[in-house]
Subunit: 336 residues, 2 copies
């Protein structure tokens, strides 16, 4: 079975500001174990030959992708002329594989900005998912460890096929009570955003559910495609979706506090980057190359870059968006 890793690296996002900027979004940040970029770590962990890795990214980020992955064949970076969310981006990659006479290959669709701490366990799930993808649309679910309201969920059905299990439906981000019910039921998985299917299959699904996207890509007018996610645009409509699941230390690094779940604390604090001096200071998440000295402060996020510093309690980590909005309002472009 021919397998292509198709890595979606077109995202922006503000939740890791000030390290992430418009010109250098999260996937390029050295937040993976070993100090690699999240993108490079994503490529490393799938362990397929580089000529079978496609990276789909926004046109302005092509150079950054090539710099992060110098050994990747240049033709394997696919530039989205404009951002149209994941469904058209995936169809674009499928169309390219069909053009390369690889329509029967399985695409392992992977976000470029997640962390996986157990790569061996991940590869086992990847293998199961690719096997199932010979026949099905496959998604990878994460067994929920808490009543997270920031993720979508997969509701499982009863049918099984080896390690794969039928998906009854995709469900939106739930409220806290609903999330708790999902977790206790044992019938729900987190939607990780990883998908597996044959290129020709997802192309047919695109023609069926998003005909404008298929037409836009065929006519090389990508901007005409609707901006829609693979979840909304295809997975919630298609039938015959199966899930594999596993426990491989998955983390979507959705905020600075996520680092505390990925990296061990040193001296009571999680530190990525330069040195720290912590005096009566515990539970902080500290990121950046500068020396950071903390005295008598607990449970803060402190992020330094060359030109900016962010300080906030861990529990306010989502409010970094408000900072970015304020910078946008004040038109402080150099910091965006």
């Amino acid at each position: 079975m021919d397998i292509y890793a198709v890595i979606l690296a077109g995202g922006g996002g503000t939740r890791l500001w000030p390290a992430s900027r418009r010109k250098r979004p999260k996937q390029f940040l050295p937040l993976a174990p070993g100090g690699r970029s999240l993108l490079a770590a994503t490529v490393d962990r799938v362990a397929v030959p580089l000529d079978h890795v496609l990276v789909v990214t926004a046109a302005p980020q092509v150079a950054e992708v090539r710099a992060a992955l110098p050994a990747l064949p240049p033709n394997n970076v696919i530039a989205e002329p404009v951002a149209r969310n994941t469904a058209p981006a995936i169809a674009l990659a499928a169309h390219e594989l069909i053009r390369r006479k690889a329509g029967d290959a399985v695409m392992a669709l992977l976000p470029s900005d997640h962390v996986v701490t157990d790569e061996a366990a991940f590869r086992q799930v990847l293998e199961q998912a690719c096997a199932a993808a010979a026949r099905h649309l496959v998604t990878c679910g994460i067994r929920p460890s808490r009543a997270e309201t920031g993720y979508g969920y997969l509701e499982l059905g009863d049918a099984t096929e080896g390690p794969a299990r039928e998906v009854r439906r995709f469900v939106e981000k739930p409220d806290r009570v609903t999330a708790a019910q999902y977790v206790s039921s044992g019938r729900y998985l987190w939607n990780s955003g990883m998908f597996f299917f044959r290129a020709d299959r997802i192309w047919r699904e695109t023609q069926k559910h998003l005909p404008e996207a298929a037409k836009a890509i065929e006519s090389a007018n990508y901007a005409n495609a609707p901006a829609i996610s693979i979840d909304y645009g295809i997975m919630e409509k298609a039938s015959g979706i199966w899930a594999v699941s596993g426990d491989f230390g998955w983390n979507d690094v959705g905020s600075w506090t996520a680092l505390a779940d990925i990296f061990p604390a040193q001296d009571g604090n999680v530190r990525l980057g330069g040195p720290q001096v912590a005096i009566e200071a515990k539970g902080n998440v500290i990121v950046g190359d500068a020396l950071v000295a903390l005295v008598g402060v607990d449970d803060l996020v402190v992020v330094t870059t060359g030109d900016a510093v962010l300080v906030m309690p861990k529990e306010r980590a989502q409010d970094v968006r408000a900072v970015v909005q304020e910078l946008e309002r004040r038109k402080m472009e150099p910091y965006l």
Copy 2:
């Protein structure tokens, strides 16, 4: 009356780390109103011609002094070959003035690292002090506004002479209860470290009370002088000391929190340097050129430099010394 401003710029100190470093101590930092260095602001406020300004500094800081005061005649920077505290440094300047046939000039001895916000009021006190210094050893006292335990005090006697009042004794930094008694008695002033006397007078006092220092200076063997402050070495022993006092917004910038007493708050926070974004964040003192974004934190000190960031509650401001000690212990020279 001939007046020389003699500015003591040889200090080190760690309380404003990470902005202050061994190679760039506090007096060179742009902490004076208007963004001037404390040293330059000290020279500006005495308003005497630059050929009547002497700056006494440590030998390694001569270049930095010249850079901070480009219009100062080069010969008016007096280098202490080694640090011997204030009494020998002052005698060195007095000896130089006698050598220049200005033994009858009044020396206005001023620390280089204090802030004065009301310069007109300061100059009025300066004038009174210099007038009294034609006959006396004169110190400038600050009327205490709180029971500060970080300063020495002057106990006043009853004799007056115009605006000057006799000093009964110099007293050490008191404990909190004693400090409160001092303040409520109305008979005590803070010792500001500013002194006024004729050059020949302080030289005679040095010969009398610190003969080794006088001998070391006369024989050009400065290192032989004992290291001792003017307070201990001379003022606590000499008789006939008078004080002038005034209210001119004096602040010795003894910690980062002092900036909150000097500069007005913007948007609820005191900010020196670059831009800030403060979301539900009040009472913070923020220093440095980087953009600082604070979310949901109050009453912190946040100081940024190119290579280091300090975060601590304002009430822990004195503990920056512990950070510097830790850096010394770890031999992290670039940050010292």
